[in-house]
Amino acid sequence: MAEITLKSIAHSYSASPGSGDYVLRDVDLKWRDGGAYALLGPSGCGKTTLLNLMSGLLRPTRGQILYGDRDVTDLDPRARNIAQVFQFPVIYNTFTVFENLAFPLRNRGMRGSDVTRRVERVAEMLELGSLLKQDASDLTADTKQLVSLGRGLVRDDVAAILFDEPLTVIDPHRKWTLRRKLREIHREFRHTLVYVTHDQTEALTFADEVVVMHEGRVLQQATPEELFANPAHTYVGYFIGSPGMNVLPCRIEDGGAVIAGHRVPLPAELAARAAGRAGTLELGIRPEHLVLGPPEGGVPATIVFVEDHGRFQIASATLGEGATKDAAPDGAKAAIKLKLPPGAPVAAGQTCRLGLPPERVRLYEDGRAILGTSPATTPTTSPATTPATTTAAGTGD
């Protein structure tokens, strides 16, 4: 086991790549030894490619991969000694469960009682003990996936265990159990785990730290609560949270941000840093942080639509005075979403004022965060305090 470092990795599947052919561009990452990480992003953003580069199934077009101090860029998976669990369970059909689990050990020349001891230990850990003598082809999909995982765990010296959307084919009610099992195994054995997913709930509940990817780039590597509180990029804001962050075009005017023709106060430091920037400025605020009918100030808005989700309500509104659903005369109107507690007095057609608490407002220049205040939460906070709203709202598509 060791720290895994990716140094300016770029990858293209084309043999002579043009600038548009890269699925990964300039990825620099460090995976701490023993950490539980999630690699989160939409389909096609390069997550799986990155995983396959780490395990050695692919060679990067450019860049370097280090396990500890050892350069493994040109080594194959066998020499790297790494485990990977795939989207669809892979089991060797002619084998029993025992033989499946023993396969990686036997391939490395281990024989006899050593094999039996390790297989039995892993089987006990995964609660597969009673199935060891069964034909692996008869198992259900989730048990097969456990066996696949077991083949990774059976070598206790693996550098890391990589998961490529391992719960895709698992029944929803078994997903939760399996994810919890992964957490348990992680707590007990402290393998480095890297978990690829496009599902934010899975990522946020699994990982100590989440890496958000988009179009071949890493946008942010942070704890779940940091991703929620301080998205480094508007895309992270959209992607994390349900609904995602509201991002509104704005401009800076005497220490405040102007959206839809109305001034929103900003913390002084943030306003100072944002003033005079040349790029496109946007203001971001989480739907959970908007205040409906603040004691003073606020931006006028009209509620257009309310969805009642039972445990909370999501209201869509248009900003600006006298704005209606259809009229957007000068672009002053902007759509915004609010997340409100159940029973909050809100109805479609209602006009109101929306408060944007200064400490919750984030500013972005060309999509990238302008750091104004020190982070609201520090990365050292325990992952158990993931914002309740995020987990509760994650629908896990």
Partner: protein
């Protein structure tokens, strides 16, 4: 009532098929059964002889010889074609124009009519004008398929291998294509050697297509007629006289319809029995 009427409609739909099968298979087969239990002395003179012909045919030493040659031939070509076909399929490119080109080239022998295959090889192996025959002679190897039984055998086997190995290869190729990439990736992660990948991933997945390949190749080779007939005419002596040629000689050459019919039935039942037993053995573990 309603369901009963529906059943009758089903009969209407099934009947054309039954009639077709009756004319194409059942009626000819029954005619053969009819011949096999009669001694036909003239157009209007028939005598019922029971199982006489069956007994006679089964005791015929010439038939025993043909039967053994046939078994030897079928197992020989299976022993060559299966490993060779698997080997070729493993080496075939999996995608791109190379894959298409390989598929076309491999399919060519399958498209050639049987008698043409025989004729091609007859010329190809002639010592005076055939490329292969002349080349062997040039290398100082004595080779003559019309005079030497071993040479004749080798020629027939090589010809069949050339003609039909592509079928096995194509079947295996389709089987290999059905293996998801994740299996190969997982095997690399598990540190499996190329042999282990073949033994534990590819071969198990090939099992079903191999069962089909064995059945097809066994039935086909067991009925082989045209190619050896064109190439060697069953000679030299009787050395390449296989069952169907023996049967033709009996039925058409000597016009012994009774024994020929009895033998046809035995021949038919043997192939049926072999294929059935093989299939049951090979597919049993899957159903368990």
């Amino acid at each position: 009532m309603v369901s009963k009427r529906k059943n009758n409609r089903a009969w209407l739909l099934v009947t054309p098929m039954v009639v077709m099968v009756a004319f194409s298979a059942i009626v000819p087969l029954m005619t053969v059964v009819n011949y096999s239990v009669q001694d036909i002395l003239g157009p209007e003179m028939r005598v019922f002889v029971g199982f006489e012909w069956f007994r006679k045919v089964l005791r015929d030493p010439e038939l025993h010889g043909a039967f053994l040659r046939q078994l030897l031939f079928s197992f020989a070509i299976l022993a060559v074609q299966l490993p060779l076909g698997i080997g070729i399929s493993l080496l075939m490119p999996r995608q791109g124009w190379r894959s298409s080109a390989t598929l076309v080239v491999l399919s060519l022998p399958l498209l050639i009519p049987w008698n043409v295959v025989g004729t091609m090889w007859q010329i190809f192996c002639r010592a005076d004008i055939g490329a292969a025959g002349a080349a062997l002679h040039g290398m100082g190897i004595s080779y003559n398929y019309t005079a030497n039984p071993v040479d004749a055998w080798l020629t027939v086997v090589v010809m069949d291998v050339w003609h039909w190995t592509p079928l096995v290869a194509l079947l295996c190729f389709s089987g290999l294509r059905a293996i998801p990439d994740a299996y190969y990736l997982a095997a690399r992660i598990d540190g499996a050697s190329p042999w282990a990948v073949f033994r534990y991933i590819q071969l198990p997945k090939l099992k079903n297509v191999l069962v089909i390949a064995v059945l097809l190749r066994f039935m086909d080779s067991f009925m082989i007629y045209t190619e050896p007939f064109v190439l060697t005419g069953g000679g030299p002596g009787n050395s390449t006289t296989f069952l169907s040629q023996f049967l033709t000689r009996l039925a058409v050459g000597q016009f012994d319809l009774g024994p020929a019919a009895a033998f046809s039935l035995i021949y038919f039942l043997f192939i049926l029995l072999f294929c059935y037993v093989f299939r049951v053995i090979m597919t049993r573990p899957d159903e368990g």
